[in-house]
């Protein structure tokens, strides 16, 4: 059977034009997808059943036992951490927040190690952005800063920017100017009209220089800023101010390098400045397919996009204190529930080590690096493959992930609801 207009759940692009050929519980072929998408659908090897660590290895256990044991671990914990959420759909995230509220846990999502600094910057200065279709239909200048879409978001350029035919940009390749800013020449840099190679850690200074030039203060700029010639900076500022519609996309090269959220703040303020000359927007390149959804769900339920601590009864937010990495590194939490993510692969060593010391439960369809740190793993559906639900694209557009096959696994939302019901039953009103 051929299924059209399937949404790829892998990255924040949420491309929704895939064509899948499926037969029974197997996906035979993926059309239109990138290599990441193809791997997501085709190399989908699942953990067959819940497993529990034994003295010598692992044993399979029934779902009911795994759920009961998880509820027990959470109930008996003084400082539980619920982490992940970015590769599943909104309903799961929503149940997760309810559990955190019920047991006074800290709940955090993967923003904490990707665009958390972008959120902090936005909380200081706001976010002039738009949906990706605005960029596709209007933008004549595109800047990729500290990101490599060709590798990380392979269809970003063809669907939304460089190569996408837009209403006011019918001949995209000819009519759009592409600027890539990075510390080294990556694949994306290779197709740029203007490649800007910044010395590592120099983003803040370059952004400041551009702001100064846009404000007409080019005379104060030294000959070189973070390795970039003044002439190039002036040229880029000129391209920006002469744009009809400009769009900046930035990645972890900006958020996780020296300066962190201050870099992002500076980039946003450059965008703000450019809006006094023309139209300019800025957007983070969100990684996980539904990481933005976890920010959205957390926000409407708790008021904060990530790092929410319910230990005081109210929702408390203090990134740096209530963020997962910090709580783990301080050795503060005594139990962890990881859902739809892989902190074992992405967290600093000290944080991962603490996960291995405490009872950690992983709810995820796949065996990953976190499995090795866990006491129990409960396999579930993968949102967008064998489970339907809402995901929010990197620009905030909500899209319904489809269920294209049934592989007989329970939905992670169902597993969490059972845990929540158990906790409610045991903890009383």
């Amino acid at each position: 059977m051929i299924i059209n207009d399937v949404v790829c759940p892998f990255c924040g692009c949420l491309c929704d034009d895939l064509e899948l050929e499926v037969e029974g519980d197997r996906i035979l072929r993926v059309q239109n997808g990138c290599s990441l998408s193809e791997a997501t659908f085709m190399n989908d090897t699942r953990l067959p059943a819940p497993i529990r660590r034994t003295a010598s290895g692992w044993e399979e256990i029934p779902y009911a036992d795994a759920i009961k044991e998880t509820a027990d671990i959470l109930r008996d914990s003084d400082r539980p951490l619920l982490y992940g959420w970015s590769s599943t759909h909104g309903e799961t995230q929503s149940v997760g927040v309810h559990i955190a509220e019920r047991i006074g846990a800290v709940i955090d999502n993967t923003s904490t190690v990707c665009h958390g600094p972008s959120i902090l910057a936005i909380q200081e200065v706001g976010h002039p952005g738009c949906t990706l279709g605005q960029v596709k239909n209007r933008a004549d200048v595109i800047i990729y800063w500290g990101c490599n879409p060709i590798e990380a978001h392979p269809r970003h350029m063809s669907r939304y920017t460089t190569f996408a035919t837009g209403f006011f940009v019918p001949d995209a390749q000819r009519e759009r100017t592409i600027i890539v800013v990075d510390t080294r020449r990556n694949d994306s840099g290779g197709i740029a009209d203007e490649f800007v190679q910044i010395e590592p850690g120099g983003d803040y200074a370059v952004l400041s220089a551009l702001r100064a030039i846009v404000r007409g203060k080019e005379s104060i700029i030294p000959k070189k800023v973070a390795g970039i010639a003044k002439e190039q900076l002036i040229r880029i500022a000129g391209i920006c101010t002469n744009a009809k519609f400009g769009a900046i996309f930035f990645g972890l090269g900006l958020t996780m390098s020296r300066g962190k959220y201050k870099n992002v703040r500076n980039a946003i303020e450059l965008t703000d400045e450019l809006n006094r000359h023309t139209k300019f927007v800025i957007s983070p390149m969100r990684g996980h397919g539904n990481v933005y959804g976890s920010n959205e769900v957390f926000t409407w339920m708790t008021g904060y996009p990530f790092a929410v601590d319910f230990a005081r009864g109210i929702a408390f937010y203090n990134p740096g204190e209530t963020t997962a990495v910090d709580i783990l590194r301080r050795g503060e939490c005594d139990a962890a529930l990881i859902v739809a993510s892989d902190p074992g692969a992405h967290f600093p060593r000290a944080a991962a080590e603490h996960l291995a010391k405490i009872p950690t439960v992983l709810i995820d369809p796949h065996v990953n690096a976190t499995t090795a740190l866990s006491r129990i793993q409960i396999p579930c559906t993968a949102a967008g493959i064998d489970a339907a639900g809402t995901a929010y694209r990197m620009d905030g557009v909500p899209i319904r992930l489809r269920k294209v096959i049934d592989r007989g696994y329970p939905d992670d939302a169902e597993i969490l609801k059972k845990i929540y019901d158990r906790l409610n039953g045991e903890l009383g009103p």
């Binding site: 949906t131 279709g133 596709k136 035919t165 409407w300 708790t302 319910f310 009864g313 937010y317 319904r400």
Partner: protein, 566 residues
């Protein structure tokens, strides 16, 4: 069978012409009935003021920009936090509370139905998800069409049926309730960083004017037989001298519908400014209300501001950028492809600011100078003018000249000279307030025959019982009792269940979402139009098949079918 008998209620039910009668209200299975059995639960209202559940016909509580307001404002989240308690979830926020915060606080104030003022169709799924998490109010969504490319093309072709078909398809697809135009044409211009300054200026590329968009959409709205009228946020919001644009817009509006208004003009306070600069801004409420008083085909709402810190959020992207250039605080903007824009900035309305004082006065002037309270409804464009928890204060101000005088004495000295408020003696009565906070909204939104806004047999049992004895409180003198009374009901009954008691939520919510489904003839349906489909697939970034909001996003969806084109 679930029965309740509310005894000894002092009922004001303007739609049925009841004004302060002491009576009993019988409820069975969520609806009001003539009588109930003797097994019914009894609630003694003790002759307290009993009104149909409050209805907010223009508020921003759910969806992309509201949530972004929360997202960017941890400082506000700290301001209103409450613990998990009984049936109540944790809440955060004061001027942009979390969904549960909104729902509980509205419920405590007796509000049972809310119209979300602005939903971008492309992001409708988000709005509906938040509706589900706003459990104690029935919800309706104004759907934005101000910069809709397909609509502007049809308007340029002067094709009213096609315009109607596009609107009908979209409302059905996104489960929207009504047409919203926010700065029509201006939001598309903002796609290029521009704005329109008059209703006769052409939208770049599309070659249509706001006036053409408004008049065509009014006709399309009536062709679709939608329960609500076109809901308009006029062009030039917040600019000194904009009252002329507002008056010109009002002059465009024919009287096409015998059952309700033909145009709903929202937050008119922001559109009633004279002068030409921030230095000489003045009130033109008298001119605006003169126009309203002669045009029964228009209903407006106040857009009252109150002195506090709050968040402005609107689809009017260019306006927010202009405001940002004045305030230099944080600014968010979110343009939506082929449809609309939006912007968000925090503001503080201060008595030290002459402009803010004049704005405050204008909102009250509009209400006091509009002869027919059915034509000027009470709201603050929550949270733009003030968070909705300020409504009781607005009620107090409208009912008491003394309260206004006391406030006026604390304002910037220019206020008296540049507004007429100080000279207005009118004090509204309980009936006026009942009209301006529920009955008028129900009629304007066209939901009276859905059982909203009145307490007649067959109506939905949405009832607010306030701890106010109208026979012993003199609102002109004891306005503090009025304000306090409207802050917290004794009982809020939603669809036949007591949901809130003395401000405490005591059950889980089970709201409904109303949406309109216009039955459009096959031959002009746009989903049969190859050109419409081609342009959709080519220029949107989601496939047409992934655009419609699935029914499951509305767990208690209430579809309102209309016999369009009949």
């Amino acid at each position: 069978m679930n029965e309740i008998l509310v005894k000894n209620a002092c009922v004001i039910d303007p739609i049925r012409g009841i004004n302060g009668d002491i009576m009993d209200i019988a409820i069975r299975d969520g609806r009001i009935v003539e009588s109930v059995s003797d097994r019914a639960e009894i609630i003694d209202a003790h002759r307290c003021l009993t009104l149909p559940g409050g209805i907010d016909s223009h508020t921003h509580v759910c969806g992309t920009k509201v949530n972004f307001g929360r997202y960017m404002s941890p400082e506000d989240m700290r301001a209103g936090r409450t613990r998990r308690h009984g049936r109540m979830h944790v809440t955060s926020g004061y001027y942009v509370p979390t969904t549960f915060g909104n729902s509980y606080r509205y419920s405590a104030m007796g509000y049972t139905t809310l119209l979300e003022g602005a939903m971008a169709p492309l992001e409708a799924r988000h709005t509906h998800e938040e509706f589900t998490a706003t459990p104690h109010q029935d919800m309706l969504a104004n759907t934005l069409f101000d910069g809709n490319w397909a609509v502007m093309d049809a308007v340029r072709e002067k094709n009213i049926p096609k315009t109607a078909a596009i609107v009908g398809w979209t409302l059905n697809a996104v489960k929207g309730y009504a047409i919203k135009l926010t700065n029509p044409g201006g939001t598309e211009a903002w796609g290029w960083g521009e704005d329109l300054t008059s209703i006769h200026e052409k939208v770049p590329h599309f070659e249509v004017t706001p006036s053409e968009i408004i008049t065509t959409m009014i006709r399309a709205n009536e062709l679709l037989r939608l329960p609500h009228s076109v809901h308009l946020h006029c062009n030039n919001l917040g600019k000194p001298g904009n009252y002329q644009t507002t008056l010109d817009t009002f002059d465009l509006v024919p009287d096409l519908n015998p059952d309700r208004q033909t145009l709903y003009a929202t937050h008119v306070q922001f559109h009633a400014y004279g002068g030409g600069t921030w230095r000489n801004i003045c009130s033109k409420a008298e001119d605006i209300t003169r126009s309203i008083n002669s045009k029964p085909q228009i209903v407006m709402d106040m857009g009252q501001i109150m002195f506090c810190r709050t968040m402005t959020m609107t689809a009017d992207g260019p306006m927010e950028f202009n405001l940002h250039c004045l305030h230099h605080n944080k600014w968010s903007n979110h343009d939506v492809e082929l449809e609309t824009g939006s912007g968000i900035i925090p503001v503080t309305y201060s008595k030290k600011s002459a402009v803010n004082c004049i704005m405050w006065a204008i909102g009250l002037e509009l209400a006091l100078l509009t002869k027919n309270p059915w034509q000027c409804l009470l709201e603050t464009d929550n949270p733009n003018g003030a968070p909705f928890v300020k409504y009781p204060e607005v009620i107090g101000l409208l009912m008491s000249k003394r309260y206004r005088d006391e406030e006026c004495a604390t304002l910037h000295a220019d206020t008296e000279r540049r507004t007429s408020l100080f000279a207005l003696e009118r004090e509204m009565d309980w009936h006026d307030i009942a009209v301006m906070t529920r009955a008028g909204q129900a009629k304007a939104l066209g939901i009276v025959n859905q059982g909203k806004g009145h307490l007649g047999a067959g109506a939905e049992a949405d009832i607010a019982i306030y701890p106010i004895r109208t026979d012993s409180v003199d609102p002109a003198r004891e306005y503090r009792k009025v304000v306090e009374g409207f802050q917290k009901t004794r009982f809020t009954i939603k669809r036949g269940r007591v949901v809130s008691r003395d401000g405490e939520i005591i059950v889980d919510g089970a709201n409904a979402t109303f949406w309109t489904n216009a039955l459009i003839p096959e031959d002009i349906r746009v989903d049969n139009d190859p050109e419409f489909i081609r342009r959709f697939q080519e220029f949107y970034t989601v496939r047409m098949s992934n655009y419609p909001v699935q029914d499951l996003y509305l767990p208690r969806g209430r579809r309102v079918d209309t016999e369009a084109f009949s």
